[in-house]
Structure formats: structure tokens, C-alpha cells
Symmetry: C2
Subunit: 358 residues, 2 copies
Amino acid sequence: MVFENPPASELITISGVQTLEKGGELNNPVVAVERLGPEDAPVILIFTGLSPGAHVASSEKDKSPGWWEFMVGAGKAIDTNNFQVICVNSIGSCRGSTGPASINPDTGDYYGADFPDITIWDIARMTGLALAEINVQEIFCVIGPSMGGMTALAWVISYPQTTKHMINISAAMEADPFAIAIRSVQREIIHTDPEFMDGNYAIDAEPLTGMMLARKLGLISYRSTSEWRNRFGRKEDGTGSEIESYLQFNAEKFCRDFDANCYIKLSQTMNWFSLMDEINSPVDELAESKLESALIVSVSTDILFPPHQQKDLADLLNKSGIETTHLEIDCPHGHDAFLVDEENFSPVVKDYLGSISG
Amino acid sequence: MVFENPPASELITISGVQTLEKGGELNNPVVAVERLGPEDAPVILIFTGLSPGAHVASSEKDKSPGWWEFMVGAGKAIDTNNFQVICVNSIGSCRGSTGPASINPDTGDYYGADFPDITIWDIARMTGLALAEINVQEIFCVIGPSMGGMTALAWVISYPQTTKHMINISAAMEADPFAIAIRSVQREIIHTDPEFMDGNYAIDAEPLTGMMLARKLGLISYRSTSEWRNRFGRKEDGTGSEIESYLQFNAEKFCRDFDANCYIKLSQTMNWFSLMDEINSPVDELAESKLESALIVSVSTDILFPPHQQKDLADLLNKSGIETTHLEIDCPHGHDAFLVDEENFSPVVKDYLGSISG
């Protein structure tokens, strides 16, 4: 397995021992970020879903396509001519930031199973500490899809005086029981793979059977039934149906460079997160923040973070006096729509950024 | 593991070697049925979903509750005062009918991994042969939910001159790619359990880890997100969330008496089934059948067999000149609604049977 940091990412070290929400500690943790666009332009801070790294879009420094290539770049919806874009790889991941597949500076060995539990709040807080190291204090707009949307909420609560606007896509104030169940079965599939060995597998011998199956189940939940109906033949034959080949291909691609312990840690953060349970009065806290407006985006066919959750979030923000728009995109691409549906997502993001840039 | 036949079921042996659709053979296969109500009354034939046996409702012979207890019995929607009810355990199951957990008369040992592939068409045809053994030739109404709905369709095509009416619930002419994917991952989870040993496990040492996980995934797909939202607390704690306990409890219950090879064989039948691909002209074949009317029932929140599939089925039947009604029940119980939603399902079935009994 290779956990290489893409060339355009910067590794920012946070000095000292950092205590995490669940009590664990990280010594000199690293946060990987990618910065695109002029350094003196207003900052757009992007948190990612569970699996992408900080490499959000291609640039001179890294010409390979980023995970949000259609959205970010010169002249695109998130225009790097007008904004400085900072994309963050979450703590706990294996794409540059400190996570279970990183070397523990205290032991010289991989963290592996010893990596402490992390939460969405930790991801937000470590990002704040990292941005302080590079003197980024003011955020024009924070953007987060999926897990990144949860992190964006934790960010706004954790650093209430930094951020003026927010785009929150296909995320929620807390996970839905259906999503909790799917993720819990995914983790159990990995746990029960004999190669997992309670997380103590060698870094180059990950529990591939469990990871493949967990990822396949993830892929099923990320897209919609209607998309697959149009895309795939229906039937199995002796060698497997089209949809099975699709799952196999995409799970293999993912498992080539994603660490099982990282997957488990990040999956858990989403099940734990709850704005309502963990914050005394979210309405008041948000009202006291610098947040002026927000755009909340739903996808009609998302079964993992269904639209009613984004409606609830928009209601909360409006109650806090933040001018909030809730848009539901009617498309067949399910939870992953923001990654593939350029046609619907680009104008929505572009129009909102245009409206707040005034 | 115990594969006991409930006392009210009859085991009907079909004499001779029977060749199956995929080329395999069964020597003297057995079909388990349960008969309730007067023997001279019009027959209602019930096919089941993947897991239930023939024990559909309690009676003098077996006082334990059946799998459709609220629906079948004296004075109930399927009234055993007026109808003879015959419920069928599918070939391939482990609840009385011949399946992988049965003894192969040729070897004296369990079939296990040697059990041949079966299809929905085989389930229908073996049922026809078994009913011939007990001189049941005329069916007033065939009823099937889920896999049983597919079997009811195969029944009507296979025995076109036997059956006057049909109730088809939460089923389809062919599986949806989403359902195919879920079932394919379920089977792969069992296949990759080291205890599965290519199906060659001892009958009392089934691959429990894989079965538990496959069943949990099944349970997730059988219910709806909205039901779980109302039913369960959202969060995980150290010992697991409410929804995880629910999955654990129900999967344990199921795995206590369901055989892994049976699960795999029956799961496969649903992925293979296609009325459109396998029958030259379903419209013409159905038009030439004795079928006069049909009731097709959908559940709004079913993600496994979504309502558009039942609409397609109703359209096909209407095109064949069969007077068909399509009803969509708007309830939060998902695919399993017919098993739990007495309030919505009893009147629907009762009214239809009343209307055709004239």
C-alpha cells in the first residue's frame, strides 16, 4: 500500500501534544492542506468527505485531476482567480494528515491499532490549529460535502469568529439511523476479517477482503437505485453482472490506497457526531458566530443523508438569524451527486458565491 | 442448528428424478406445505419470501404463531372459514422442503455444497408437481409477497390454466440493480467467511460470522430510513447503539435456524429471475392464461422492490387483458411492511378477496 502525499499538498505540523475530544493524545500532529489561487484573496476552506485527500483540483504544482476538478479552478464555480482555496485532509485519514497509517513520533512505528479515537470536532480543531500556523485567520466561505459538511458545522461552532458564509452539501446535524446501521455493518465486516487482527495488521498487509466488502456496501449506499437502473444491465450471469463488476472495480481502486484503520476511525466520527446533543444551544451559539449566510444543498435521491436532514439544518440556521437557503437538487446520483453532477452543482455553487461576493 | 418441520406442515414427495432449470437434478424432492381451512373450499395458494416456512398461521395442529398470523385464519382477511389456504415452503429452503440442508437420498449425507442451482421457475414447478400429488388442480387466488411474488408470476406462467386471481405484493418482474448489488454483497460476505469452506461446512457448524453480517445487511434493506428514525435513538455509545442491538438481536434469531447454503441458493434465485428475459412474450402468455384479475401492492418506502416496479407489473398485466389494480401503500415500514403493517394490509387483501368472491 502507498500513502503518498500528492505534491501540491503542504504538511503543516502542529507543535506539541494535542489532547483529543475522547481523551487520546497526538504528539505533533500533521494536517495536510492544498492551497490554490492568490494568497491575498478571500479564503474558501473546503472539508472533504471520508475518502478524498487535500488534492481538490489540478494546478501547476500537481497536474493530476483533483477530487473536485470540475468545481475548483480558474474560471470555474469556485474560481481560483478570485479566491484562495484551502482544502483540508482530515486528521485520521491516510492522505497526508496524521492518522493510523502515519508514523507515531513517540515510537517510530505506525500508529495502527493504537491510534486514538477522533471526532468531527477534532478534525475541525486540528484544522484551526494548522491554519493558525500558516496565519490564515479569516474564512470567507467554508464548504463541506458529506462528512465535510459535518466538519464545516463543527468548524463554525469551534471558530465562531472566523467565517462569514457556508455551503453545506448532503450532510446533517447528526447521522440517520439507516446511515449508522450501514456504517456499523461496514466496520463489523472489517473487524471480522481474520486479517484485521484487531487493527494490528502490518501496514502492507491490510485486511483486503473486509475492506473490499465494506467499500462495496459503501458504494451501494452512495448512489441511487434509479441511477443504477439506467446504467446497468439487471442480470447476473455466470461471471457476474455489470453491477458486480462495477462494485469490484471501484472497491479495488479504493482499497489500493486506503488504510483499514483509517476507514474505521473516520467512519466512526460520523456516527458519533451530533450538533444537537453535544452543543448546549446550537441556535444561540450560531447566532453569536460571525456567520452571515448559508447555502444548504440536498439531493432528492440521497438515502444516506436524506433531504429532510438538510431541511432541518436549514431551519436551525434560519432560527439562528443566519440567512439560509435550502436547495434540493432532483437528480439520480444519490449521495455522491456532488462528485459527479457538474451540471447541477456548478451553477448552484457559482450563483451562491456570486451573490455573497456582491 | 435445528431444521425442524413445524407440526402442521405436510411433506409431499415428488416421485422420481426431477431436472431443474439450470441442469441439476433432485431425486424424489420433497415440498413442505401447510393446509388450513375446509378441503372443499376454493384454494388460496401462498408463496413466501426468502426466509419463512410453510407455517403461515396458527391452527389446532400447530398453535404457534405463523409468519402471517394477522392475515390468515378464521374471520381474518384470508378467511379460513371460506378458503382452503395452502402455504408452500420453497424448494432450496431449510424449512421442510428439499434444500442444501436436507439429506441427499443418493448419498445418505447432507446435500450441502452439492445442492444444485435452483430458480424461481423450479420453485413454481416443484410446487405444481407437489400439488398434483395431493390432487389440488384449481387455484382461486395465488398470493405472493417479495420472492413469493416472483414465484406467483412464475406459477401463473408455468400453470396457466389453474389460477383465476393473483395478489402480488412488493415484488417485481425482475430484480432492481440495487437489490442485485445488496444480495451479491450479502452472498460474498458469506463466501469470504473462512468457516464457509466453499459451502462444505458441517451442518452444525455454519459460517455464523458471515451469516450474521449478511442478515444484518438484509435487515437494513428490508425496512425504511423513516421507520428507523422514529424507532431508534441515533447514537452509538461505547456498547453500541439501539439500532445495532436491534440488528444483532434479529440476526441472531434468524441465524439460529437458517442454513447458509440455503440462504445463498434462494438469494440467487431472485437475482436470476426475469419475466421479460426468460419468457418469449409474457403479454401473450398471460393473455392465454386463466387469470382474470390481479391486485398489485407497492409500499412507498420499499428500497428493495421500489413502487415503480409494481407499476410496471400492473401495466403488463393490464396489457394482457387481466383486470389489474395497483395500490401503493404509504407507510414507513419498507419492504417488510406486509409482515408488520396489519392496519394497511388486512383491509387491502380482504377487500380484494371480497370483490372477486362476488
